[in-house]
């Protein structure tokens, strides 16, 4: 059953752009990017029990890195995107090392502080980041090897979808691996995991950096997609929104957060046409989910509880 659903979704993802009108394709591309972003956070929140309130940090950093690469160097689009992800993973190492010194609320506050710090830097460092206006006119440089197809709207969709699918496949394997199951143990009872001989901090740093790589990848996909990068990409509101996507979609399921991202975008695009207060609906749904259905939408659909 599960395999059939996945196959169906895969086919749909491949076929969609050929049947959809342009503006829907853009929305779908955005969903792929946000889905990747949300899924990367799920590794932290759903699988390791680390509530990060600053995940926008990696999104923004990936976006700015890719934007700067595309604006100031001649590298092609795929290289810039990969570069953005790699740079984000690199900066995540010291971040992870510092943040994992704390647990619980202190950890959440530390991640928030880092994100706000990057926000402040992006806001003020006019010469490099364009200050409050951000970086505009980010090009989709084709580069050699005839990769120009990716720069078109349809091509970009396939690029984003491809990244999401590849990341999903990797994450599926990762959470079932030795390291992945250890993360679940740490989530359940860190003290016991440590008593068994696992070093929890090392694992936390590992998953943090991995999550940063994927989140940075999402951000790096975003900058050329939207054509700009702004400090808002670091702001804690975005961190909160992606957390909402993960929780509403269903933490600890990988598929749930992607669903959550779709839900978020659907609310934003469709509900905002009908009523002015889509954010209110989102907030209420979010609170309701946390209170009454912590397994999220995906969990409800599959009848499985991930408390």
């Amino acid at each position: 059953m599960r395999a059939a659903v996945r196959a169906l979704l895969l086919v749909a993802a491949v076929v969609m752009p050929l049947v959809l009108p342009t503006f829907l394709l853009t929305a779908l591309t955005e969903m792929m990017i946000l889905g990747l972003f949300a899924m990367s956070l799920d590794l932290l929140v759903g699988y390791t029990g680390l509530d990060s309130f600053g995940h926008a940090a990696v999104y923004g950093f990936g976006a700015y890195s890719a934007a700067l690469l595309l604006l100031h160097t001649g590298v092609s689009l795929p290289v810039a995107i990969l570069g953005g992800a790699v740079f984000t993973a690199a900066i995540a190492v010291p971040m992870a090392w510092l943040c994992t010194r704390a647990t619980g609320v202190a950890f959440a506050m530390l991640t928030l502080a880092f994100a706000q710090l990057l926000y402040a830097v992006a806001y003020k460092w006019q010469s490099v980041t364009g200050g409050s206006d951000g970086l505009a006119g980010v090009p989709r440089t084709a580069g050699p090897l005839g990769m120009s197809w990716f720069t078109s709207r349809i091509g970009y969709y396939y690029l984003a979808a491809g990244c999401l699918i590849a990341a999903y496949v990797f994450c599926r394997g990762f959470v079932a691996s030795a390291v992945g199951t250890t993360l679940l143990a740490i989530r359940d009872n860190e003290r016991k995991a440590q008593a068994l001989g696992y070093n929890p901090r090392a694992y936390k740093i590992l998953v943090f950096v991995l999550s940063a790589f994927l989140g940075g990848l999402a951000g790096a996909l975003y900058a050329p997609f939207a054509g700009f990068a702004s400090p808002d990409l670091f702001f804690w509101m975005l961190s909160g929104q992606v957390l909402i996507m993960v929780v509403v979609g269903g933490a600890g399921t990988l598929g749930g957060p992607i669903l959550g991202a779709a839900f978020f975008l659907a609310l934003e695009h469709y509900l905002s046409v009908v009523t002015d207060s889509w954010a209110l609906v989102l907030g209420l749904v979010f609170i309701a989910v946390v209170l009454f259905a912590p397994q999220g939408l995906w969990g409800m659909v599959r009848g499985r509880a991930v408390p």
Partner: protein
């Protein structure tokens, strides 16, 4: 080279002005089954916590095979060959019983750093997990989430996890606590069968004197953070100081 043994020398642990441990000196020989008894608050669990690295001593050292153990974090103490169970059951409640034991077995293998699934190492640890579940009589519960097991089965699962690590020293913190008479008997039988093979050094904290007398060869008695008696089971049983402080009219 001396056979592996565990040594506490002048071990003290203070919490503010309170001395939970006060100059505890204890030597456990290789292959020994040593019971640690004493009234509530005597410092038994604190001693376990200091030995396994959960707490650092405020004075004194713990040595294992001649090497200093005190001051190391818990995961490194475990890597040196000491496994423990906890007084308040500590399991991965959302994972299945089999997964719990498998994780315990996996912890000491280098394969635990694989980030891709499957592989021969996982099959190996799965096999070991099933074996241990069987030896402890828990095979039927392999796929049950650990949080849903009965109290007795949970405590047995913890023992299985500790054993799955193939430790050199096993520290059991009140393994029969909260168990019914029948469950206690079953646990003792299992433990006796497992320990009769030798090669395992055991430190056992227990309140149930019958369990102590049926399993332990040596007893160390703690009271208020100090060792008040230490020796072969029969000798300690007869010691008037111990009888007065702890055994009351039981011995």
């Amino acid at each position: 080279m001396a056979a592996p043994y565990l040594e506490c020398e002048g071990l003290s642990r203070h919490f503010g002005a309170l001395a939970a441990l006060d100059g505890v000196t204890m030597r456990v020989e290789s292959g020994e089954i040593r019971a640690l008894i004493g009234p509530n608050g005597a410092g038994k669990s604190t001693l376990f916590n200091v030995i396994t690295g959960v707490l650092a001593p405020t004075a004194g050292v713990v040595r294992f095979k001649g090497e200093r153990l005190s001051g190391l974090p818990p995961h490194e103490v475990c890597a040196r060959g000491l496994s423990r169970t906890f007084q308040i059951t500590a399991l991965f409640s959302r994972l299945s019983a089999l997964e719990n034991v498998r994780l315990a077995a996996q912890a000491r293998s280098a394969q635990r750093w694989r980030i891709l699934p499957g592989g021969p190492a996982t099959h190996q640890t799965l096999r070991e997990g099933r074996q241990w579940l069987e030896r402890l009589g828990l095979s039927a519960l392999a796929d049950t989430p650990a949080g849903l097991l009965s109290h007795g089965d949970q405590r047995l699962l913890e023992v299985a996890m500790a054993l799955a690590q193939r430790p050199e020293v096993l520290l059991l913190d009140e393994p029969t606590q909260g168990l019914s008479v029948e469950e206690t008997a079953r646990t003792v039988d299992i433990l006796r069968a497992l320990l009769s093979g030798g090669g395992l050094t055991v430190l056992l904290v227990e309140h149930d004197m019958e369990v102590v007398f049926s399993l332990a060869q040596h007893i160390t008695v703690l009271n208020r953070g100090r060792v008040i008696a230490d020796g072969a089971t029969e000798a300690v049983r007869q010691d008037p100081r111990v009888q007065e402080a702890y055994l009351g009219g039981l011995a």
